[in-house]
Symmetry: C2
Subunit: 434 residues, 2 copies
């Protein structure tokens, strides 16, 4: 007799997911944008189909459906392809499908040690990747913003030349972000307070540049990982990233956890060892002091070793240490063992609270997957409750590119929520007018 | 230039929130149910309006809208009220609005120490509350199921006599629940393994009884608390409940966190004190050994004190201890101080990970709000990061009734997802046929 009534969240959304204001008013233009998004997401989920079938499946009127499709086609987001018959009765229609091969999103990560850029089209194909070592804490904010704008500007020019239209740029940064303004409120590892990252880059790019979105790096990292996993039915992902800082990105029930003030997943300062090392934050035994990149490097190699040199790309330094570990270096293996046990300790807490299906080790941890994954898996299995289940543990295949890939994803995802983010193509497309 | 592209979750849902199967097929009846739910939620969110306006706002065709409204009215979920003019042009229409004053949900909590029942109508009005002390661990499962069925059966009879139609019964139980089957997989504090709670109660109630849903008690508790807070714009709630066990219910971004296997919020066995007390689970220093009801009672009163007597309602026992605390009892105040510091320790971890706007102390903690809230608030404030924000801490106003209230909410919420859960009224309503 049990029935699975799901989604019991009590959320006050109207049809189409549009929020009403407190007086209960609904904006008609907002509803139209939401319905365009519905059609685009529906097409992405179920594949190409005729207008008549789209109208029947969504419950939208045929006139509304045609008008919305014309608008989407005018923005280069859908195409009408081969002629299909809907059934025995009625005139034949053309298949409408998601296009977007010429629509792209750009993602950038501002890391402590480097800038990374990924451009991807609406179908998820990576068009461009670029990494520049950059010792951010030792540069002025203007110097960093100049570098970011130069990296993005170069990519935008190349993409435009290649016939791509960039929807938006999604920038990943560590620390506390205000996504509404695009400001970095506080990023201790960059030494940044209240830096207007979005407006600073936009100003340098000049008019006509796409909108700049900013989000915390592990949140964008988990979006990228989740996009690669969602086809397998995975809805609950815990992504843990480490470089100088440590952070978690959490997707639960298919949704990104942001928290009330955007700080969900700020796990670097979990106090996990009351007898531990003092942290720069003033507390003792923070998780970051156990598994951050700095204590790992300190244990893995002497102070004058080249693996400490910020001028060398982090990926290359990690590859060096990885080769030493594979070669049996005692200091690197001991350092990894400490990282593995620290990861196991903190992830046990996160897994008890969040119950993810999969734990993805990102950031520098991803370079040492075959050393860290078995140790972390064993720690989680040892804590498994009767009738409980422990998550699968895996190393990120995106590695250090996960946050910038997530930035491209964020930039593109906006189109599925509001297709009008992409302006109409000059000239329009007369054949799709309803 | 920053633009707030939200909802970047990458979830593959079609229009209307219906999930397509792996082959991309969408069930038409499922789409119809989803659109009925959309209309009902839209009406709840924005209030009564004419059919023409509903069709315009949702983008559904007028024919579809009329047909769906007729169906909803035939189930007693909406009514058509006074005549309104939509504007200068067109014939006048009648206002459609959510009815549901005769539609109710029943919630039950199976606690270690008592059964609680709450019945509420679709507008949230509580129709009935009932509490029975019950020493569950010392009864057979059949005896407990008999008691639950008797409590529910009595309520259903009274509600039917009063002219109410009960949609479903939502049962809260501690431990690991399988919501799909309604079985309790493992509830160590009840001594239950694989107990068919939903089917056992349904069998006793006989044919014609409403469906029985089962969910974990803190998850239903947080739904009840969230329902009371959502009007204030709160979307991120952490509810912590304590009796013999300790558990968390988490609403993040307006959605209940379940986790990959329904275990999100199983925080009773977080290992917070490596030098602590052995736990029944085999670990050491679990949060439950620090703040559970048993260690609290042991510290607050000698073993022969009546506050340990399970035959006395838990609420009465807590009221006794509350009076002693207010009267300055050293043993009770010391015990509360230990609970407050243990709550502060564990909640600091949960708050770092989840970033809630509000922390609600439920279960027995709610009886001691003015002792515990300041201590917990101070612990969270001491950990506030620069530019971070700490949540508001409050004691539950629903107290021990939160999980059963949440059960009633769960039972009713199903109607907003799938209005066909409620069968058509005998005779139908001819005046609303489209």
């Amino acid at each position: 007799m049990a029935s699975g009534a799901s989604g019991a969240s009590g959320s006050r959304r109207t049809a189409g997911g549009v929020r009403a204001d407190l007086a209960g008013r609904v904006d008609q233009a907002q509803m139209r944008r939401a319905n365009m998004g519905l059609i685009l997401r529906h097409l992405r989920a179920v594949g190409g189909r005729s207008r008549a079938r789209l109208a029947a499946e969504t419950g939208l009127s045929k006139a509304t459906t045609s008008s919305l499709i014309a608008d989407l086609a005018g923005r280069g987001l859908v195409t009408e392809g081969e002629t299909v018959r809907g059934g025995a009765v009625g005139r034949p229609g053309q298949t409408v499908e998601v296009d977007g091969r010429r629509v792209c999103g750009v993602g950038v990560e501002v890391n402590v040690a480097f800038l990374a850029l990924t451009a991807a089209d609406l179908q998820g194909t990576v068009l461009r990747e670029d990494v520049r070592p950059l010792d951010v804490p030792h540069l002025t904010q203007d110097q960093v913003l100049d570098e970011v704008a130069d990296l993005v500007g170069t990519a935008l020019t190349a993409l435009t030349t290649g016939g791509f239209r960039t929807v938006a740029v999604g920038v990943a940064a560590p620390g506390i972000i205000d996504p509404a303004s695009g400001d970095v409120r506080f990023a201790p590892n960059l030494g940044w307070h209240d830096v207007p990252l979005a407006t600073g880059v936009a100003k340098r790019l000049g008019t006509g540049a796409p909108p700049i979105l900013v989000e915390n790096d592990p949140k964008l990292g988990v979006l990228a990982e989740y996009a690669g996993l969602a086809g397998d039915g995975v809805q609950d992902v815990l992504f843990i990233t480490g470089d100088v800082g440590v952070g978690a990105g959490i997707v639960s029930g298919g949704s990104l956890l942001r928290g009330g003030s955007g700080l969900a997943g700020e796990v670097g300062h979990l106090a996990l060892d009351p007898a531990g090392t003092p942290c720069a934050c003033g507390r003792v035994g923070c998780w970051e002091t156990m598994i951050g990149l700095t204590p790992f490097l300190q244990r893995a190699a002497p102070a004058d070793d080249a693996v400490h040199d910020p001028a060398i790309p982090l990926g290359d330094r990690m590859a060096t240490l990885r080769r030493r570990a594979d070669g049996g270096s005692i200091s690197v293996l001991r350092a990894l063992d400490r990282i593995g046990s620290g990861l196991g300790l903190g992830l046990s807490v996160l897994v008890d609270i969040l119950d993810p299906q999969i734990v993805v080790l990102g950031g520098y941890f991803a370079s040492f997957g075959d050393h860290l994954v078995p140790q972390v898996s064993a720690a989680l299995a040892a804590r498994r409750m009767e009738h409980g289940s422990e998550p699968r543990v895996t190393a990120s295949r995106l590695g250090l590119m996960a946050p910038s890939r997530g930035g491209a994803h964020l930039a593109l995802e906006g189109v599925f929520e509001d297709p009008t983010l992409l302006p109409p193509l000059a000239g329009g497309t007369s054949r799709t007018q309803g």
